[in-house]
Amino acid sequence: MPKLVARFAENAFWLGRYIERSENIARIIDVNAAFARDEAGEADWKSVVALYADLEAFDNGERAFTAEDVAYFYLLDRDNPNSVRAGMAQARENARAIRHLISTEMWADLNMAFNEMRGWTRREVRSTALAETCARIVTDCQTFEGIAEGTFRRGEPWLFYQLGKLLERADQTTRVLDIGHKRLDPGADEPLASVYWNALLRAVSGFHAFRNRHSVSSGPSDVARFLLYDREFPRAVALCIEQASERLRSLEARHEAGRREPVEAARRALEFRLETGPEMELTGEALHVFLDQLQMELGRMSTALAQSFFR
């Protein structure tokens, strides 16, 4: 079996990651904007910035926590490394490096999406256009993912691409849940919380799935349980981790070196952490701490992959 240059494994991993990240950022901006419309401008844009730990970077004296400023910062600002535009540029550079390993269609699609995004201006994040802009980003990312599903050879580059995508998706789900944890708290105002849940679930395309699985009387901890542990929901953290583990097993089977201890340790730690969740109350501060820990374990897994495969 032909072996994969280590550097290309890293490119494939980050290609998957950046596409997934771009999609999720657009989802989060969109849901916050939708919430703002429902609540006549009461949306909390600061919490979005806090969610990505960008309070310091955002506060340059010129920006305010308004829909337009925050949306611009996260969708279009080239100087913000966490923006969709920067993420798509990164995705494209990673794709460029492995153009010989991905399908022509994947490259052409990403290239076209990126070239179109280049022409975007502040107009795209004004309130009348924002929902449409977010929807386009989400669609662009999903189109790419669909093309990858249909054309990307199931070799090693694909396995690393999948690992990047799945770890990023798990991470983003914990962040969406985190952004809502205060509002999901049972102590909070009921109607507000319910509007927020709905928006939150819609942000991860989980609204109907959740309604389908849980009764009308379900509470905030049910949403958390759903986003973390549902067996059928593709963005649920546990399902992402389970799929990532399958990819790791495929790699193991292909490699003469077999199992990599740092990766195995990170995987076990992640699974162990996930198993402790159901025993606790998934609300309030406890939930926040738990999500923090999950994010840390996901970070450790990334580091272990880099150590074992990318150098």
Binding site: P2, K3, L4, V5, A6, R7, F8, A9, R78, A89, E93, R96, A97, R99, H100, T104, W107, A108, N111, M112, N115, E156, F160, L251, R254, H255, E256, A257, F309, F310, R311
Partner: protein
């Protein structure tokens, strides 16, 4: 399709087209001299300008969409540029091609024999057929290659021989490229583009296929793997994404089925070359390198190179890895050595050149310098060490001030220059501005040498998109055309 051949005159799409006294690739010269299938010429003439423009625009959009671009990086942005594509093909008859193919093979054979001689016995230098100091003091001469015979005696595995057609319709060699000639990806991509944009144009014509370049190259390089091993690991060594030709490196790696690597992916242990993979180190047997000699190996050459791999050259000298092209091959494509190519061909092959050089005055020789200084305003003067059209002064088009500056430079450093008469480069009908106009073209056929030499039918036709311009280099605003070799 009817195969009767006529020398047609401009009509239809080409109504009012005037080649301006130059030899035209479609209609020939004043005395005719062009014989292409009349049905094909008629088909081209039936094209409508508006439709042609629309399809050309679509084609160039496709290039952008597919990212068939060369990329320029600035501090905060990547700028993708498309090599302008002209939709009117450049057509070579079977007779044209037979001569080109034989001429290019002859040239490549002479280049390889010459390189093996100068790095080993040095007979040609002792016999005085070419001045020894021209070779030994050449900046591309690699002393480290002395006494070494590369596998199969091949130095220039991939060669690009730049041809032009003069006013009388004769092909001439303008330049040899024996190091890392680029542009072959455009030959293949232009064909794909052409067949998508104009599927009706080529129908039933019978055009030589260019699709198997990657497979041919892979085959040729594999055949020269160390120890004649079967199924060697072949890697293409690229300087990386910041190189403007990165698209071509990716293209070739994919077409060849080779692994694309950068210097940082390679590691040399016990004089063997390995690449870092996700599953440990993997032995590399053949490297098609797209980086210059200087940067190949910081231990052997430039110590500040970040592009190569330390120890690579030692592994090569031990015969543990095959490099294509061989280090030091550049001494054969030097513009000063070019002037001696007819003598080199005669010396090794005992043949006259099948394709003649452009007449060349060597300024390192007193007569050459004197002639050049006397006729500066009529000659094209070229620095020998440059490529990509840089530093070329076209006498009849230069200002007095430019000529005065050139005169000073020539006197200060004569051996850095050659001069040639103005060649009336042939023209090809090209979509330009409001209609169709004559634009100057050249041709770079690509020769691949393993156990024997194969020439990709056609090659890259570069076209000077600016009216009257003779500079076809992509770095100077040149474009390209699909090149058809008729079956």
């Amino acid at each position: 399709m009817r195969t009767s051949e006529t020398s047609a005159s401009p009509a239809g799409l080409f109504e009012g087209y005037d080649s301006g006294g130059y030899f035209c690739e479609l209609f020939g010269g004043d005395a005719g001299g062009r014989t292409l299938p009349s049905a094909l010429v008629e088909r081209l003439q039936r094209l409508e300008l508006r439709a042609l423009k629309r399809r050309a625009k679509d084609a160039s959009q496709q290039l952008m969409d597919l990212g068939i671009t060369f990329t320029v990086y600035s501090d905060r942005d990547t700028i993708d540029r498309v090599l302008p594509f002209d939709p009117i093909p450049r057509i070579l008859s079977r007779t044209d091609w037979d001569q080109i193919e034989r001429g290019v093979k002859q040239r490549v054979a002479a280049i390889n024999a010459f390189l093996d001689d100068v790095y080993n016995d040095g007979k040609i230098l002792r016999d005085g057929a070419i001045p020894a100091e021209l070779i030994k003091a050449n900046k591309h001469y690699l002393k480290a290659m002395e006494g070494f015979h590369p596998p199969g005696g091949v130095y220039a595995h991939i060669a690009g021989i730049d041809l032009v057609r003069d006013g009388s319709g004769e092909f001439r060699v303008l330049e040899d490229n024996a190091r890392t000639p680029s542009g072959v990806s455009y030959v293949v991509e232009n064909r794909h583009l052409m067949m998508r944009a104009f599927p009706d144009l080529a129908e039933g014509v019978g055009i030589a296929n260019v699709d198997d370049y990657g497979a041919r190259l892979m085959q040729a390089l594999s055949a020269l793997a160390p120890g004649g091993m079967r199924d060697p690991c072949v890697a293409l060594l690229s300087p990386g994404v910041f190189n403007s030709a990165y698209f071509e490196h990716v293209f070739l790696a994919r077409e060849m089925g080779a692994t694309l690597v950068e210097g940082r992916d390679l590691v040399v242990q016990d004089d063997c070359v390995f690449m870092r993979t996700t599953d440990g180190l993997e032995r590399v047997d053949v490297i098609y390198r797209r980086i210059d000699d200087d940067f190949l190996d910081p231990q052997a050459f430039r110590s500040d190179s970040m592009l190569g791999a330390p120890g690579l050259f030692a592994a090569y000298k031990k015969g543990h890895v095959t490099l294509a092209n061989a280090p030091g091959a550049g001494v054969a494509d030097d513009k000063a050595v070019y002037a001696y190519m007819p003598r080199i061909i005669e010396y090794y092959l005992g043949e006259d050149p099948i394709i003649a050089n452009v007449d060349t005055h060597i300024c390192r020789e007193p007569e050459g310098l004197a002639y050049t200084l006397d006729h500066l305003d009529q000659l094209v003067t070229k620095p020998v060490g440059e490529s990509g059209g840089y530093g070329v002064v076209i006498g009849p088009r230069a200002s007095n001030r430019e000529l005065a500056a050139l005169r000073r430079q020539l006197k200060a450093d004569p051996s850095n220059y050659i001069s040639q008469p103005m060649v009336d480069l042939s023209v090809s009908p090209t979509l330009a501005g409001a209609g169709i106009g004559p634009r100057h073209v050249d041709l770079r056929p690509f020769a691949v040498t393993g156990r024997d030499t194969w020439v990709l039918p056609g090659g890259l036709t570069r076209v000077a998109m600016r009216k009257g311009s003779l500079v076809v280099n992509s770095s100077q605003g040149g474009g390209s055309k699909d090149t058809w070799v008729l079956a």
